[in-house]
């Protein structure tokens, strides 16, 4: 199976994007998931619904709003200009920002589930032993939620790899910058280069299956322990 240079470039870009997004979401998603799991605030519903929005929203809606928001007349665009940063559309970091929104529920929801299943008891015990809340989180909650972190990271990574619509709308299809594997396949198909599309598509198919296989093969064991 032979992939040309631009295919390999697209694959690396996709892996890089998914890694960066997963890392950012681990940091951003943890406090959100923790809060959602523990709070009794009336804001729990609205915030939970907001986090879940990308599950339901068509990518075209997200892409459209992001394009307007990040453009020179949008709120994000004005902010980036005031800060002297390059405008976000058509850049790698623009894709990162879009993907963080797009993959947010895939990180937050498994984490929230993991935190909820811990329950109050272990945390109360830790508190009676005079552990500070931060201490409790890192020494009790985090280790107990590790399987949740595993699932959340894999799902987030895989979902970012599978992104297409949003990237097409705000990416501008620049080689090495915003031309990810899914867009590259689309371009091959559009240009009637079916054999090249087949090769890259097969790579994506095998990759996606392996990722899910790891996830499903690993999970039952974690339950036993």
């Amino acid at each position: 199976m032979q992939l040309n240079d631009s295919d390999i470039q697209a694959i690396w870009l996709t892996v890089r994007l998914a890694s960066v997004v997963t890392t950012i979401l681990l940091v951003v998603g943890t406090p959100i998931a923790w809060w959602l799991a523990r709070t009794r605030s009336r804001w729990k519903g609205p915030l939970g619904a907001t986090v879940a929005l990308p599950l339901v929203l068509p990518p075209s809606v997200l892409g459209f709003y992001l394009l307007l928001a990040m453009g020179p007349n949008g709120p994000v665009g004005k902010l980036t200009r005031a800060l002297g940063i390059e405008a976000l559309p058509f850049t790698f970091w623009g894709l990162v920002l879009a993907s963080v929104f797009y993959s947010l529920p895939f990180m937050v929801q498994p984490l929230q589930n993991a935190f909820e299943t811990i329950g109050d008891r272990p945390l109360e015990v830790a508190a009676t032993l005079r552990a500070s809340p931060l201490d409790t989180f890192f020494t009790v909650a985090l280790p107990m939620a590790l399987p949740g972190y595993f699932t959340a990271s894999i799902l987030t990574f895989a979902h970012t790899v599978g992104e297409f619509g949003v990237v097409l709308m705000i990416g501008g299809n620049i080689p090495g910058v915003t031309r990810v594997a899914s867009v590259q396949i689309y371009d091959h198909v559009e240009a009637l280069e079916y054999s090249q599309a087949h090769r890259l598509a097969a790579v994506m198919l095998i990759f996606s299956f392996l990722v899910l296989l790891i996830l499903y093969a690993w999970r039952p064991n974690s339950r036993k322990g």
Partner: protein, 251 residues
Amino acid sequence: MKLIFLACLLLFATMAHAEKITIAAAADLKFAMDEIVTGFKQSRPGNEVEVVYGSSGKFNTQIQQGAPYDLYFSADIAYPLELVKQGLAASEAKPYAFGRIVLWSNSMDATKMTLSSLTDPKITRIAIANPKHAPYGKRAEEALLACDQWDRVQSKLVFGENIAHTAQFVQTGNAQVGIIALSLALNSELAKKGGYYLIPENLHKPLKQGFVITKRGADKLLAKQFADYMGSKSARRIMTKYGFVLPGEVK
């Protein structure tokens, strides 16, 4: 009961007469085709004409896979010719227009620009359609190559999926300028702002556009009527209004 029967009869009667066709049209035709279809429907009330806009290459692939389009208007006659060769067409590939490309901007005065203005450091993003599969993108690439600008501006280029998507990058201000179809730049929504510079046609190969009736539309009278209507005076007037040069016209 009687009333329902009568309603059914009426529905049946209209259904027997009315036909429905679906047209796949290149994105550059968006505004012109909308007007032409409106005129066509007025002259044949009761019939339904649906138009789907998108990239020519994609429609070509879809028709090869049996997509339900009765007529196919491509921005490049090469695609319809291909369909004819493969036996997927019910008519010959007929040229209907020549397209032109322009430099268009939403925020700058493009009427004072030429292709060499693109090196201006104030311009950081230039949108063109993807040259790999969009006919307008291919011509934009040729024009930039012809005047030795391609290498100088390549790092600023962003690629739209089709020509309407490209125009959208410019309209939202995300790219300061773009090379788009004259037919889009002449639409009132886009013509309100900026302005355009017509790229000399000797810089690129002609954008010869063609259409076919697909195999699926072979038995539909309405498809044939629409194909004929494209040659009518009113359709030609609309095409000219949107900057298309018509076949057979001497420039």
